[in-house]
């Protein structure tokens, strides 16, 4: 059945591609200024799709099932920003800050913290400290972290004081390890101690400077709320993986059953979002001011440039992590064959859990950017998820470059298609593109090797 079409398929695919390219080319030639505008709009929409597709591809190429929680994660991220910022920004029109939500997320964060402590420290300290003491201490620590998360959610107007120092310390630690990783892989053990001392003191200075800057500027609250909601969505993703998917995979459920289970999660979470926030669309504050710049006849908003930059930064960071770090090698090994990876000593549960955390954080970031660009509503998640899915299929499923390319391509084609059609047909265009693509070019633009 599949091979029956394949010789004709390539011809049809070629004709379709030529038609699309010719159409866009004709459009660019007839009115270049407008084309620039549409192209830029396409890129800025495509950046969101690309972020979505990158996270999606990361998870899919590791565990090989479609996790529809992704859509809920995007909505969760966007609503997280709304939850933290609306009271101040909109002057208390929406009283959304409720103790129930805070407690639920505090419990999730405490659970994740307990799991992290258990996997990282328990095995090492078991020999030296008696396990009951260790368990009690770990439990207390996890509770403290959970209570801290609850406090951050409870007092969003003091976000910069509560969360700013933490963000500064985390950034400094991350940069310190990045620096250590860079110089140790370049120089080996030579001058290790001195360089470590230099890097540590630089990181300390950075932490102090950044912490001071964040605490003293209330304007940073919006950006901190992005970080908080990405982390929260990631924690939920990790908790879902560890609490649910691991169990299902132990029972060797098929990918389709996992898909249906994640559909249930998506259904429950988006309905919960509309219970807490009501289903009407809501705005998010404008992050960089809305005065557009003019460039060659096209109006360009700073925020859209930021979105494009965010997609590229996320892509490059993920690519470097996957290519050159031990973690990345483990992820690729699990993607190739999970059983073998486990046999050679990779702790697959931990690695996959981190992958879920990172991928979900990407989805949340895409949701936040989309929310700032248009508006947020509880149903946005499913549509964003489907767009990310389409982008990763168009780009070649399981390939990171493909996800980036597919996302931008989908955005640009969508925008050029609604030039002549009306704007309301853009979802139809996206799905028709998908069906044509899957029919005639099923392996995607850049297939996974």
């Amino acid at each position: 059945m599949i091979s029956y079409f394949s010789s004709a398929d390539r011809l049809v695919a070629a004709i379709l591609v030529i038609a699309v390219v010719a159409y866009i080319g004709w459009r660019v030639l007839t009115s270049p200024e407008q084309a620039l505008q549409f192209g830029f709009n396409g890129l800025s929409v495509g950046a969101i799709y690309a972020l979505m597709a990158i996270g999606f591809t990361l998870v899919y190429s590791t565990v090989w099932f479609f996790d529809l929680y992704y859509g809920a994660a995007a909505a969760l991220g966007a609503y997280g920003v709304f939850y933290l910022r609306s009271q101040e920004w909109l002057g208390g029109i929406y009283q959304v800050n409720t103790p129930v939500v805070n407690i639920i997320f505090a419990v999730v964060v405490a659970g994740v913290a307990a799991w992290v402590l258990h996997t990282t420290l328990y095995g090492r300290l078991q020999q030296r400290v008696p396990p009951p003491v260790l368990r009690t201490l770990g439990g207390i620590l996890a509770l403290v972290v959970g209570a801290y998360a609850g406090a951050v959610l409870m007092f969003p107007s003091d976000l910069h004081i509560l969360f700013g120092p933490m963000a500064a310390i985390a950034a400094a630690i991350a940069l310190f390890f990045l620096a250590r990783f860079t110089y140790s892989s370049m120089l080996g053990r030579r001058g290790y101690k001195i360089l470590t001392f230099v890097a540590a003191s630089a990181a300390l200075a950075l932490a102090l400077f950044l912490g001071n800057a964040l605490v003293s500027s209330p304007g940073s609250k919006l950006y901190l709320s992005w970080v908080v909601s990405c982390l929260l969505a990631g924690s939920v993703g990790l908790a879902l993986y560890r609490g649910l998917y691991v169990r299902m995979r132990q029972r060797s459920r098929s990918p389709l059953i996992m898909l249906v289970a994640s559909l249930g999660i998506l259904l429950a979470l988006s309905a919960s979002i509309s219970i807490v926030f009501e289903s009407a669309p809501r705005p998010l504050p404008d992050p960089f001011g809305s005065v557009p710049w003019t460039l060659g006849g096209a109006n360009i908003k700073g925020f859209n440039l930021f979105a494009i930059a965010a997609a590229f930064v996320g892509f490059v960071a993920l690519l470097i992590t996957l290519k050159w770090t031990p973690f990345g090698r483990a992820v690729r090994a699990i993607g190739d064959d999970e059983e073998v990876a486990r046999v050679v000593g990779i702790n697959t549960t931990v690695i996959v859990a981190i992958v879920f955390f990172v991928g979900t954080a990407f989805a949340a970031m895409a949701g936040i950017l989309n929310g700032h660009d248009t508006a947020i509503q509880p149903r946005m998640g499913l549509l964003l998820l489907l767009k990310g899915w389409i982008a990763s299929v168009v780009g070649g499923i399981g390939n990171l470059y493909g996800a980036l390319l597919g996302g931008f391509l989908l955005g640009v084609i969508e925008q050029f298609a609604i030039w002549d059609l009306a704007g309301e047909w853009k979802d139809v265009v996206a799905f028709v593109l998908l069906i044509l693509f899957l029919s005639f070019w099923p392996q995607g633009l850049l297939p996974r090797k």
Binding site: L244, L256, L266, L267, A268, L269, W425, D427
Partner: protein, 351 residues
Amino acid sequence: MLTRPPSWQRLSELARNPLQAFALSRNNVELWANLLIITFAVVFMLWKGATFAVTLGTVFAIWAMLSVSLNLVVGFTGLLSIGHIGFFGVGAYTVAILTSTTAYENLRTGAIPTFGWPFFAALPVAAIAAGLVALLVGIAFNRFRDDIYVLVSFGFAIISFNVFLNLRGITRGAFGIHDVARPQIGSWVFDTELELMLMAMALMVIVVGISWFIVSSSFGRVLTAIREDEQVAEVFGYHASHYKLAVWVISAMMAGVAGGMFSSWTTFIDPNSFILLESVLLVSIVILGGLATIWGSLLGALAFVLLEEGMRFLPFLPQEYVGQARQVVLGILLVLLMVFRPQGLVGRYKL
């Protein structure tokens, strides 16, 4: 396949030794699911009274038609389709356009002609229209499988919703279509709730009968073979794609009939009845009830309808959140079922 009733021998043994029933019912999820849902339905009907039961019966019949027809595709053929609401919408819109007599001026396209057909003439056309759409879609979708099938069927649901919403020259867009005709024989118009429920129930019985005939015939056995292993079915000389296309079209026609009945019952339709969410709910009913059993789909539809109406009477739940709360419950149920019982309550097949 309806779940098999207990044999006479088993029943006579039970009559001699009634205590055996406890041993038999232990760990028998199917039995408990049946008992629980049916008891709940009966108690609910008795408590709320006849008018309520009649309305509920119509809603149940429509959802039952949809879920039984979807089970033919998902359960018996193994194609997880989330786009079934599109065919429901095609049926509903066909009946509404053909029977509605309300004039409608569109600024862009001018007046839309009205036809004023009777309901019973429009219903077969609705089934045929849904079948034709399904034929086109099915030919395009036939080469996909598994999770890609899920994705493209999502796509079909979104495309059909957008067509209903934006093709204003035909569907009147977000304004919807008013005054859809009620079923009428001669001068006898079915406009009480009871007559409509009986009508819907009659259609449901026809749909269930056809489905039962399909799954117990040799055609149904070929479908099961395709579900289990498509290549083996091909080796035995069955064109798997033809069979899949046939059952897809039949199932879509049933959904079209359900849609026609729906639009005639509400007498007003707009695109919001055919959003993607409804399709997801429909799939979760089918999986909840059980894959590859007709009885399971009926049970799932009953549970779904009761869940909504039952939650309406929870004292601590505000009325406007009932729909969302039902989705939360349904989502959690779906997750629990997938972990502990992936074939659904009375199902015969795991995805």
